[in-house]
Structure formats: C-alpha cells, structure tokens
C-alpha cells in the first residue's frame, strides 16, 4: 500500500490567469524558466469558464484596477476549496481583499524565487489535502462496513438469545454493557421438570470479541436446559466448548445455578465469579456462593472439576448473582462500589419490589462516570417456580394397531426386547407421553415370563442384597444356556377407547407367581406384580395358555 505521507513530487501544474498586464507577462516568464513547472494560461476575460486542469494551482494576476465584473468572478471562483489559488497583485486593496479569500497572496514586486517557493508550498498542501480526503473516504467506507457487520452480528445475537427467559417473573435483572456487545452473559431457561436454570458469565474483556463466545455458550445452555441436564454435566460441556474455542489469554468466569420446581433446592457451580449472595427478606446475608473452581476454558477436560454445591433456600430468600463490573463500578467520586457496599444495598432493598430502588442507588453512585466494564446484576427469588412441567403434545390417538413379536432364544439372548418394542411404540405421539409406564408394565410382564417361566428362577433369592446380585448373575447364566422356548408379546391399541391391551405368553414350565399377587412388602421381590396390579386393569393369568394379560388406559 502506498505511503500517504511520502514527500510530494516537486512537479507542479500552474494555470496563470492573465489580465494582460506586464506583471502577468513577468510571472509567466518566471514560471516558464522554473524547474518542474508545467504552465498553462487563461485570459481574465475567459476565466473561469475555460476548464482548468484538476490538480492545477490557479495563479491569478490582477494588476491595478481590474474592474468590478472581473473582481466578482474571481471572488466567486476562489472559495471552491478543491483548487488552490494564489493572487498576485500590485494593488494593496486587492491584495488585502482577495488575500483573505485565496490560499495565498503576494504583493508585487516579488523577491527573487518567492513565487516558486510559494507555489511549491501550495502544491504540497494540495497533495496533503488530497491524501486527507482519501483517508476520510476510506474511513467512511470502513465505518459503513463495520456498522453493517455490527448490524449482522447484532441480529445473530438477538436470534441466539431470543430464547433467553429474562422476563421470568421471579428474576430481576440490571444488565448494562460498556459497548453495543456484552462480554457478560445472563441466561435464564426453564427445565422440563418445572426447574429453572440461570447462568451468569463474564468473558475476559468487553466488546465484540468476548461477546462472540456467548454464542456457543448460549446454544449449549438452552439445548441442555431443554433436556433438563444436571448442573455438573452442563458445566463440563461448557468447559469442553470454551477450552477448545477460546484463545489462551481468554476465558469465561461463570456461575451456573439450578433452582428446583418447589423453589427450595439450589445446586450451583461457581468458576471464578464473585460469590453470589443468598439473603432473606430482612436483608440478612445467609450464604455466600463462593467460587470453588477455575473459570471455564482454562483447564482441559481431564483436569476439569465439575463438582457442584447444593443448599436449601429458605422460603422468601433471594439470590443475587453479579459480575465484578458491579463491585468494581466506579463512582462519581472515583471510588469503587466494593462488595461491602453492595451487600449493604441488598440489605437495605431485600424485597422483590425493591429492585428498582436498588438500581437507582447504583446509578446514583455511578453518576456521570462512564462504565469501564460490563455490568450485570440479577436477583432470583427462591419460591416455587410456577413453571410446571412441559405441556404434553395434543392428544391425538390416530390409528388402531396390533403389534406382535415371537421371541426365540437367539433374540432373548442378544437383544433387549422390551427396549426394542418400546422404541417402536414411542414413535406414536400419543404413546410417547406414557413411555415410562408402558415400559414398566411390558418389562414386568416380560421379565416374569422369562425369569420364572423359561429360566425357572426363584424370586425368593432376591430377599437380601447378595442374593439379589446372585439372582441376576444366574439370570444371565441361564439365559446364555437357553436352548428352547419362546415368549410371545402382543400389544393391541384401540384409539376409540384409548386402551392398550397387552398379553405375554411363555412356553416354559416354571411357576409364574402372577396368581399369587403379593401385597406390598418391603422385600425387593413381588413388587413387580404389585406394580402391574396397581397400574393396569383386568390383570389375569391363564394357566392353560400360560398367558398374562392386562389393559392400560392412556
């Protein structure tokens, strides 16, 4: 790229405006004899209608009295700043009046060499101005480009964070970035069990660069909140992503917190964030959720410590999460706010409805002082979340069907038939919601047929922990030795009555204890049948066909 500041070439284009005077002739003669000077002329009568070279300096010679018409044409022309002009006159009045308008003015007669010197100076000025114009245009172009890119990125951020549940009624937030893009992140998302997750994160630095880290972090956060993943697993995934993504000198302090649906149980992981504060409605600080770990993105997976801490939040208490931008808020008296002052503010404004006053105090403290770090404060009140479980999909019962599978020893040995049947049945939207229950009774009926019918195991073995393990060891052993026998599973669905009818038949000889439906005991056997009895209807055992059957209403 050309250096804008290299010295201008001495070559100089001059257009002399010739008023026909002897001074003009003299000037033209001087210029012709000068080095590196390219001279053109234009008579005063033609000026300024005759085109003038673009980068030419206009040298206006006006001797004596040039008349008001010429004067006004000159006065109109000179202010067009793109062309440098120099006035040469022997008339002190013209010298004074035109000299104020033109780039330069010389009073005739001139000292030797003065004219060339001044022209050279004007030439250099012209070049410098052209360069500045060029720079200005290039800056304007870059600014337009950056603005456009910021718009795009902003749009992406808006979309990425559109799921952020900041309007959740039990959370109040005060989030103020230094620039358009926030290096702090405050994310809130409901889990599937009525629980709520909150993430407060602070990337190194502020502005666009750290904010970009917010994209993958928020994507992971929302996806994992939907699945209802545990805090330990979430932070492990966050660290995995951050340690691969962020440059070595950048990391992300974060506190992740989960509040259970009943608003009592809090689980958190704090890596490098200021201790969040648990306080009650009287403003007493009950607990500090201090950092126990390194920030995200600092250590590798195998060094990462995902251990969480839990506690029970008293009814009516709240948790304040904040970034160091809050405690290091610079006040109008050039003092930091500090954590003690923050705690004092919280104790003065502990209730939910005090949040606006708390923010007012912070803003009063800051006054007109510009922010030097992103600032984020969020207060979550610990009460039943009121979020409820995720709404089930609309009831659509679709087509009736019959499913039947006859399982031979090779199937029984190599696959988990119940899991297979269930994954097929779960494809039907109306059954999906009931998959846990359907699994349970299919598993109970199937295991009863296999373990007692075909494998002739004795459930009384399961009474003590050792026998329990032995029972399942024996199950595996006998299953591998199974030569013959079959289990037939039949599932019939009738959408009009929303009823599933299940029958499971085995070809074995063992005693099925279906007939002797045990009452509830604390023993670990017999419970399967008790569950079946309670969760289904029309449970029956046909000894002749060795078939257990029952119905389940969706």
């Amino acid at each position: 790229m050309a250096n804008f500041y290299e010295p201008a070439t001495p070559s100089c284009h001059v257009t002399v405006i010739d008023d026909g005077s002897s001074i003009a002739r003299e000037v033209i003669a001087q210029l012709y004899s000068a080095k590196h000077c390219d001279v053109a002329t234009c008579s005063l009568a033609e000026f300024p209608n005759k085109p003038i070279r673009n980068n030419s300096i206009v040298c206006i010679v006006a001797a004596g009295d040039i008349g008001s018409d010429s004067l006004s044409r000159i006065r109109e022309f000179i202010p067009s700043k793109t062309i440098k002009s120099i006035v040469i006159t022997d008339n002190p009045i013209l010298f004074e009046r035109l000299g104020m308008l033109a780039s330069d003015a010389l009073l005739w007669p001139l000292a030797s060499g003065l004219l060339q010197q001044r022209l050279l100076y004007l030439q250099q000025l012209q070049v410098a101005q052209d360069q500045i114009d060029g720079l200005r245009q290039s800056l304007a172009w870059h600014k337009a480009r950056v603005d456009r890119e910021h718009q795009l990125v902003e749009h992406i951020f808006q979309n990425a964070l559109s799921r952020n549940y900041l309007e959740y009624a039990h959370v109040h937030t005060y989030l103020t970035p230094v620039s358009k893009f926030n290096g702090d992140l405050c994310l809130i998302a409901p889990g599937p069990l009525g629980n709520i997750y909150m993430l407060m994160a602070d990337f190194t630095g502020h502005g666009l660069a750290p904010a970009t880290g917010a994209l993958p972090l928020s994507q992971a956060f929302f996806a994992m909140s939907d699945r209802g993943v545990s805090v330990a697993e979430m932070v492990t995934e966050f660290n995995y992503r951050m340690s691969r993504l962020l440059p070595d000198d950048m990391f992300c302090a974060a506190i992740l917190l989960e509040l259970s649906a009943n608003g009592e149980r809090v689980t958190y992981w704090n890596g490098g964030m200021p201790a969040a504060l648990l306080f009650n409605e009287h403003g007493e600080i009950l607990k500090r959720l201090s950092p126990a770990h390194m920030a995200l993105g600092v250590v590798d997976d195998h060094e990462f410590d995902s251990r969480v801490a839990t506690f029970r939040a008293p009814r009516g208490s709240s948790i304040a999460l904040f970034t160091d931008g809050v405690t290091e808020l610079l006040g109008h008296q050039h003092k930091f706010l500090g954590s003690e002052a923050l705690e004092m503010l919280l104790s003065r404004y502990p209730r939910n409805e005090d949040f606006a006053s708390l923010v007012d105090e912070l803003e009063r403290f800051r006054g007109e002082t510009p922010l030097h770090d992103d600032l984020s404060l969020a207060i979550l009140s610990c009460q039943p979340t009121g979020l409820g479980e995720v709404k089930p999909e609309p009831e659509q019962f679709g087509l009736p069907f019959i499913f039947e599978s006859v399982l031979q020893p090779e199937h029984l040995m190599t696959i988990d038939p119940v899991a297979h049947i269930l994954s097929a049945l779960s494809q039907l939207p109306h059954l999906r919601r009931h998959r846990t229950t359907v699994y349970l009774f299919l598993a109970e009926a199937f295991n009863n047929a296999l373990e007692h019918g075909l494998l002739e195991l004795d459930s009384s073995m399961k009474q003590d922990p050792e026998g329990f393990a032995e029972y399942y060891r024996l199950r595996l052993e006998r299953l591998h030795g199974l030569q013959q026998g079959e289990i037939r599973i039949r599932v019939h669905f009738e959408p009009s009555s929303k009823q599933l009818t299940v029958s499971v038949t085995d070809s074995g000889k063992g005693t099925a204890d279906v007939a002797a439906l045990a009452k509830y005991t604390e023993k670990s056997h017999g419970r399967g049948l008790e569950l079946l009895r309670q969760m289904t209807t029309d449970l029956s055992w046909d000894a002749a066909t060795r078939t257990v059957s029952f119905k389940y209403l969706l």
Binding site: L193, V229, L440, A443, P465, A469, E522, R527
Partner: protein, 101 residues
C-alpha cells in the same frame, strides 16, 4: 455413561445420577456407586432427571441400597423425578422410605 457419581464440593453430599434405563443391567455399577460413602455421613441424592425407564429391579436396587447404607448416611433423597417416574415410586410407597423431591 448411564450412571454418574459425584460428591459435592464439601463432601457432604453424594449425587448419583442415572440416565436412560434404570434396571438390573446397572446392578453392579449401582452398588459400587454407594459402596464408598466415607465416614462423613453424607446425604445421598439419587438424581433421576434423565431416567426415562425403570422397572421393579430398580426399585429392588434402591431398597438394597437403603438397607446396606443404614446409618452410614444421613438420608437418601430421590430427586428430579419425571411425573411418570414419580407415580411409579408413589405406587410402591417409596415416599415412606426415601425423601422424594
């Protein structure tokens, strides 16, 4: 990993999380998960947030755990149950033996 075991920062809580299917397939792993609780008398949390399926063998395993841990733990909580899982535990009257949240 269908079973995840972790103590809390202060060692006072043991969290055992089971993903997907909770049945006799985990019998050894599950026993191992609570075999070493230390002498701090921790509280045990069985986290079922990602447990989709369970059967009576899982219930048997939970009861065995309760029997074998006895007084070496403060209490056993079963937490984050999906509604269907919750109703299975309720039918089996597990609320009398465990703290279910």
């Amino acid at each position: 990993m269908p079973l995840h075991r972790q103590f809390s920062n202060d060692g006072k809580e043991l969290i055992i999380a089971i993903k997907g299917k909770f049945d006799f397939g985990l019998v050894q792993e599950f026993r191992q998960a609570y075999s070493n609780v230390g002498d701090q008398q921790p509280t045990v949390f069985i986290d079922l947030r990602e447990t989709e399926y369970l059967d009576s063998s899982a219930l048997g395993m939970l009861l065995n755990m309760r029997k074998s841990l006895g007084k070496s733990v403060k209490s056993i909580h079963i937490i984050n149950c999906r509604p269907e899982v919750r109703s299975i535990l309720d039918i089996s009257r597990f609320d009398k033996l465990f703290v279910i949240e």
